[in-house]
Assembly symmetry: C2
């Protein structure tokens, strides 16, 4: 059964304050919970609709339509932020604010074999329920490290290539992309901040089509992340096309 | 000023039924309304916060935080669905259900110079307010034609290349992509339907990294659209990389 106190506790985890206090978060849905159960995450408790009933499930669910299973999960504690490895790709997020965007970026990172994301301290919380759901399970394979990003990048930018997208920069189709480095993605409205922009050693751009056409609007941050990652993962010397 | 009737009318346009009855939709936000005003769309009336006051603005707004301007716009009527032009790229959407996804796909199409989208009749309505907002203005440059998609594609698949993403298909990095054709994107949960899958003449796939890694989850439909469009728009013979 389910006590009033339990219901109140689980509901409280929709707020960052209580997630931090208790070092726990909520994951819902069969696929997501299954992936979390088979990962390094420590699951505190799972609740199944078949056991607690539909009414109780909708009492604890943070979703508009409750799913058959909900898990309360320990937030993993990382003792240190790992130094970047220049033979591997990593992402860095400079103030990404929308939980759906962060979750989608985690999912993209997973697809393209990127297991490390560095996030500025003002990036939205990974354990926000909307973000957890949007990762579709990738949260169990990709690690997000919150850190003072400009300090972190300034320590490492001598040894690691730091990529970032800027209007007017060389096209990603023509730029020389390495096997590794850090790809910085910026805030939804303001892009990459000035202090972090200075640390970007390789500026690149996703060209519109035709390349010389004027575009008032740029692509959404998650969309840009996907296009840039796909280009990095493109094998060299693919067939000439068209 | 603003009459009670006007408020009721504008609010009613959040529902498809009333949009269809009146052949009008709502667009909000300075950027979006500016782009619509300078496009082929016929604007019925605009409302500015400075003129009608903040309280009235929040009465008519369909957004959680009202913007400085709202426009009521005529839904353009297309007398026929244009035949595909095999020298140009177009998209076809097979039952895309989420308005945010459709809006984002319209924005991606605009970025990559695609001005025509064919949509199955069960694809979410383009004039859904969430969709209009997600286009960020691209709705004024990209035309979406609702049609019986499998019939449409079966008429044209002899003369036009029809691409679609399928697990296990040749990688987009290795497939021969033409200058034109129709790229079919499928439903959020079920992908491309069987009847439309049969009409796809060129099956392709966005490979995960590493390419032989197992992935339970695929990419979101808008993300996939962006990666595929970027690869189509990649100039041939870019520099060898890595």
């Amino acid at each position: 059964m389910l006590s009033k106190q339990e219901i109140k506790f689980i509901k409280s985890l929709s707020q960052k304050k209580y997630r931090e206090e208790n070092s726990m978060f909520v994951a819902e849905g069969e696929k997501l919970v299954t992936e979390i159960l088979s990962s390094h995450f420590e699951v505190v408790k799972t609740f199944y609709r078949d056991e607690i009933g539909e009414e109780n499930m909708s009492r604890i669910s943070l979703l508009s339509s409750p799913s058959p299973v909900l898990a309360v999960v320990k937030i993993p504690e990382y003792t240190e932020v790992p130094a970047p490895d220049n033979s591997k790709l990593a992402l860095a997020l400079d103030s990404v604010r929308d939980p759906g965007n962060l979750g989608t970026i985690v999912r993209i990172a997973d697809w393209f074999g990127i297991d490390t994301i560095y996030a500025s301290e003002d990036t939205v919380d990974l354990y926000n329920p909307k973000c957890v759901q949007a990762t579709m399970g990738a949260i169990s394979r990709v690690r997000v490290f919150y850190t003072e990003l400009s300090e972190f990048l300034s320590i490492h930018h001598d040894k690691t290539d730091i990529y970032g997208t800027f209007l007017g920069a060389p096209s990603i189709y023509e730029a020389k992309l390495g096997k590794g480095g850090i790809i910085v993605m910026g805030n939804e409205s303001d892009g990459i901040s000035k202090s972090i922009g200075k640390l970007v050693t390789k500026k690149i751009m996703i060209p519109p089509y035709p390349a010389d056409s004027a575009r008032g609007e740029s692509l959404n941050v998650a969309i840009s992340t996907a296009v840039v990652c796909a280009e990095f993962r493109r094998p060299s010397g693919g067939p000439l096309q068209k």
